[in-house]
Subunit: 157 residues, 2 copies
DNA sequence: TTTTCATTTCGGAATCATTCCAGTTTAGTA
DNA sequence: TACTAAACTGGAATGATTCCGAAATGAAAA
């Protein structure tokens, strides 16, 4: 899975005139290291604070907003759940476990071409979002446990 | 496009022990008539009030919650936008226009089988959500107009 | 280095969709 | 018609996100 690097992200921010602050560095670090978890603002804050003495939730939201505007990450919204960050910009489906809340990436084979849809429906596709909800491998074996979707389920992934 | 009827919905509610109240009738009516717009709670309230003298927003939310729990409709969440109702339960992609906010249904051909994904990823798919964001036919011709996505864009659809 | 200042950060208040609640009304049954 | 569990209501509570004025600070210029 191609992963964006810390340096790429920071470089792009610098290019575009953003100042490189300890807060932004910390947040970018979390995104790079924990991106696969599709972290939310509060997890990012928590993790960022382990590296930088001073970060606020406002700043996390602000920074995520900037990164999102710059097209460097995406924002995922969920029912009853805080928003999460999508760092993997390749087209893929997020598999969202209804039991533990873990979100894993599934890369689709080249079919279901956006172009086809544009042509048929007169709709220009600029952005896609596909999610399958269900039960992940862990939650399939242990039938009915762990209701609330805790963040940070790190065992594997 | 197969559309659920007023009678089906009311019948199912009755079956399952729900009382048939003027409020529920009004809300169901709106869902049947305006379902293709993927209406949100406030639009539903507005429309329902044209038929029933007395309905409250609380009741709209409560009723939508019940219908959703009963699996008769689905709840769609969006960035910066109130939730919308999905009345079309067939598997399809919602085409969400970034300019006018209109959401139209696109039915996919039988490919991208959930079963395949389950097998490959060890994930049991119980529910799917797919959306393409972009620009609808109207907004494609008139390049850069109409920013905020107003609800009720009835011209066609 | 020091100066400078636009940008960034911060905490707290504001927002706003949604949920909760306690009191009142009512659908459906007998 | 009377009864009662369910449903409805308006207002208050919630909680994630956004907004804001004031204080702090990168980084370019001197
Ligand atoms: Mn993903
Ligand atoms: Mn739809
Ligand atoms: Zn799981
Ligand atoms: Zn449009």
């Amino acid at each position: 899975m191609k992963m964006i690097t810390r340096e790429e992200l920071i470089g792009k921010l610098k290019e575009r005139g953003f100042k490189i602050t300890p807060q932004r560095l910390a947040i970018v670090n979390v995104l790079v290291k924990r991106g696969h978890l599709h972290p939310g603002a509060n997890l990012i804050l928590e993790e960022a604070r382990k590296k930088t003495e001073r970060v606020s939730l406002s700043t996390v939201y602000a920074t995520l907003g900037e990164l999102s505007q710059q097209g460097l990450i995406k924002n995922l919204e969920f029912d009853q759940l805080e928003n999460r960050c999508e760092v993997n910009l390749e087209e893929h489906i997020n598999l969202v476990c209804k039991l533990c809340g873990k979100i894993t990436d599934y890369h689709i084979p080249p079919s279901l071409e956006p172009k086809d849809i544009a042509r048929e429906a007169g709709f220009i596709v600029t952005d896609a979002r596909m999610e399958y909800y269900g039960y992940c491998r862990n939650c399939t074996t242990l039938p009915k446990r762990a209701h609330a979707g805790r963040q940070i389920q790190d065992e594997n992934a």
